[in-house]
């Protein structure tokens, strides 16, 4: 099948390092039970492969034996021991799949998994029996090196089995063993267990690009829409064949949890089935992957973070969204938002001249960075500028900056939406327009660095504008405020110690590694953090990202933001739900209202927390 190129042959050292980490089960072990059982099977597989070499070698090459290198001694011992490890691993796996039945397996090919368990059990048991009969027949490794087989052999002897019978039985089980191995080898390529072969190359050829970028072939050429198999790169195809159907991505996905028709796992397996069964030019978007599936994604990246074989779901989703945009398949609400962005540079459709209106409530004038040099240029973002609920927080941030004597300014009505989410909606042209307008405005200003309250703007400015040759020193306000506090410029007073929890915004945490600064600030403000289970890299998206905030959520059974508030409530003692993204104030404020729990937990922005601590400093 014809496919697009992907540059994945660079940096062999780094690639190998990642592969070793994967072999070390770094991601798999996050799920303790399945991580351990997988490690048991994985290691046993390599040890037992020696038995396979021995079985096949001895018939194919008469006289071949592993005996000179320890085939009858320590290798034999290892085989015996790991046969038990393997059987235990398989038993744990079967228990999980048949009894525990975690939801992440929903939609996976469970029959396939069961067939493999049976084949493995047959291979291992025939191996043990073969060795046991050999011991009874007086051939093969000595009993000391095969404790398990020897025990079985002792049982046969106790049942008065004759050496002649044992010798015949040995031959029978030898052939059963070989037959089962052959069946296994034939079965693997057509099953999800082909990941045994493809996982390693898939991890090796993973993307090493900064994760906040959607790679652009050249500044002039936008990434293409993905419409048919021929538009996908070979690595995209390898991804789909390497999928183990483990469902970790599905379990982490906020869209799936909210009842929308998106499972990142099924997305990958549906694509795989399409690649295998459909003509290369058959349309994918629509017939195979539905519009609703593609629009459901918040681009939170949780799926990619957990996938043990480093499958890249998001570039595929966004690429297929580009096809939807190109064909004009856009839901009315999203169309309104995009048209507004085209017209006035913000999704609300409010006049661009109103962008800096929020500053009117401040006791001082905010500098116009277009007219005078500033130390710090504050890129405010749409929600922080226009949403009445967030404007108050923006004013708090401004007051904090003033308190710390920061020389800062804003772009007033020249600021445009950063385009981060427009880009992820698949609207390349609009993204480029917004980005280039902001870059042109910024290049006419004098400043040392950019601070932004909005993680989405942070990602665009720090990671994406470089595609057009513009790089900036950008910090999120969490890191900036921490700097001010640590430098003694923003002294914080004693506060009453409260227990809070903190929500990692996807575009601050997973995308830009901003995990620690907000936590350090919270501690400085005198609060103790009780972490939710899904924190840091495994944070659970509020549901607003990737253009979801511009779409209808009436089809959801439970909004991700409400799911998240429930998680915070279950901590029992968190009074405050601390956020560090303007969209989060909106999303979680609404979720708390919808759940009617405003008496139990409150959303508070990091800036408000810091301000209350600053105010107690005399």
């Amino acid at each position: 099948m014809i496919s697009q190129p992907a540059m994945r042959f660079d940096q062999p050292g780094r690639r190998l390092q990642g592969l070793l980490a994967a072999i070390g089960h770094r991601r798999l072990i996050r799920n303790r039970y399945s991580g351990i059982l997988h490690a048991m099977i994985f290691v046993s597989f390599f040890v037992l492969a020696t038995a396979i070499v021995q079985s096949f070698g001895s018939v194919l090459f008469p006289g071949f034996s592993l005996a000179p290198v320890g085939g009858d001694t320590w290798i034999a011992l290892a085989q015996d021991v790991f046969a038990i490890v393997m059987l235990t691993g398989v038993a744990l796996a079967a228990w999980q799949r048949l009894v525990l039945r975690p939801a992440r397996f929903k939609g996976s090919n469970n029959t396939d998994a069961n067939i493999i368990y049976i084949l493995i059990v047959i291979i291992v048991v025939t191996m043990l029996l073969e060795a046991a009969f050999a011991i009874v027949a007086g051939s093969g490794a000595s009993a000391i090196w095969r404790p398990v087989s020897a025990t079985l052999g002792a049982a046969f002897t106790a049942m008065r089995m004759s050496p002649e019978f044992a010798s015949q039985a040995h031959d029978v089980f030898y052939w059963l063993h070989v037959g089962a191995i052959l069946a296994f080898v034939v079965y693997i390529p057509g099953s999800k267990h082909r990941h045994m072969l493809l996982a390693a190359p898939n991890v090796y050829f993973r993307s090493l690009k900064p994760i906040g970028q959607i790679p652009r072939p050249t500044p002039e050429v936008p990434p293409p829409p993905l419409a048919a198999a021929t538009d996908f790169a070979w690595k995209d195809m390898l991804d789909t064949y390497a999928c183990t159907e483990c469902g970790r991505c599905q379990a982490a996905c906020p869209a799936y949890a909210s009842g929308l028709p998106l499972s990142p796992k099924l997305l990958i397996t549906d694509l795989r089935d399409h690649f295998v069964t459909q003509p290369a030019d058959a349309p994918i978007v629509g017939p195979t992957i539905s519009e609703d599936t593609l629009w459901a994604c918040t681009t939170c990246r949780a799926c990619m973070e957990v996938c043990p074989v480093h499958i890249e779901h998001l570039p595929k989703i966004i690429g297929m969204r580009r096809t939807l945009i190109e064909n004009g398949n856009i839901q009315p609400m999203l169309q309104t938002a995009l048209s507004n962005l085209q017209r006035v540079g913000n999704s609300m459709g409010t006049a661009s001249k109103m962008r800096a209106r929020w500053t009117k409530g401040l006791p001082f004038n905010v500098k116009d960075a277009r007219k005078e040099p500033v130390d710090v240029l504050w890129f405010v973002g749409d929600f922080a500028s226009y949403d009445p609920r967030v404007q108050e927080i923006s004013r708090t941030v401004a007051l904090l900056f003033q308190r710390a004597g920061v020389d800062f300014g804003i772009l007033y009505d020249s600021e445009r939406n950063s385009g981060n989410d427009v880009h992820r909606v698949g609207e390349e042209g609009l993204f480029e327009t917004l980005a280039r307008e902001n870059i042109a405005t910024l290049s006419a200003c004098t400043f040392k660095r950019i601070v932004t309250t909005d993680p989405h703007s942070l990602n665009a400015l720090a990671q994406e504008y470089s595609a057009f040759g513009a790089t900036y020193d950008v910090v999120h306000y969490s890191a900036f405020l921490l700097e001010l506090v640590e430098a003694g410029r923003l002294p914080l007073g004693p506060t009453e110690r409260r227990t809070v929890t903190y929500h990692d915004p996807c575009y601050l945490g997973r995308y830009n590694g901003g995990f620690d600064a907000p936590r350090a600030l919270i501690a400085r403000a005198g609060c103790a953090i009780n972490e939710m289970g899904r924190c840091r890299e495994n944070s659970f998206c509020c549901g607003a990202g990737g253009g979801r905030i511009w779409q209808d959520d009436s089809a959801m059974t439970e909004r991700p933001s409400e799911n998240r508030i429930r998680e915070a409530l279950a901590l029992g003692d968190a009074e405050l739900f601390v956020v560090a993204c303007p969209k989060d104030s909106v999303m979680y404020g609404a979720a708390i209202d919808a759940l009617g729990v405003s008496d139990r937990i409150k959303v508070v922005d990091l800036a408000e927390l810091v301000m209350s601590a600053a105010e107690t400093h005399s």
Binding site: P222, I325, E326, G328, I330, P332, Q335, L338, S339, Q342, R343, V344, M348, G349, T350, A351, S352, K353, M354, R357, V422, E427, E428, G429, L430, F431, E432, T433
Partner: protein, 258 residues
Amino acid sequence: MHIMVVLRLVADLGGDIEIAHGGKDIDREWVDLKLNEFDDHALEEAIFLKEIVGAKVTAIMIDGDGVERSLQTALARGADEARRIAVDDTDGPISSRAMTPVVAAAAAELGADLVLTGVQSPEDIFGQLAPSLGAVLGWPQASAVSSVKPDDGSTITVQQEYSGGVSAAIRLPLPAVLGVQTASRPIRYVTGSKLRQAMAEEIPRIEATAAVAMPDVEIVELRVPDEAGGAVMLDGDADAIADEILRLLADRALLQVC
């Protein structure tokens, strides 16, 4: 068929509207301009007609701030040509009534046989443009049109909306002028990449061949509507609120409580 679409930029009501000094206009310093929504539908209908029966679509606007970009957008949407018409500098924006002779002359020069424009605009709330264009050109005219179907080439049938969900099918001979209320289909999204291509196109600027009509009405004063007071917010639980409503209705003798 050659369709001419007349587009107008109007104040974006998404901003706060304030009355300018002098009290005769809004303060345009703080408002953005946007394409009049009904004109947008007129453009969509023209492109729809082009797609189903084949027509040439020319979009025109009286030149001014933001006009070039709007016309580039029209090209990206599917218009074949666009013209901005330069008129002598007048004070402030030109009203729909005042632009009529200029637009009518353009229609004649372009050889249009169908002129579409929005049925009204926030600044032309009575929808004068289409009727007065019809009058100046001497062409038949219909307003509040929600769909246009060409018949045999010399006539068109349009659907005209009345209030209460009633509509009429009207046949008009060409050439004609229509004030469009809604297009036959929702407005299509034009992608950023198409827009970017269109941005590279320069829109020809032509001189008006007719004079702007002198206004025969004058704005004496512009005011924001008086705040309507008297709203009462009711607090409390459902029972308390229900009692309160009952009491209020009874007090006003709107309800007899026995």
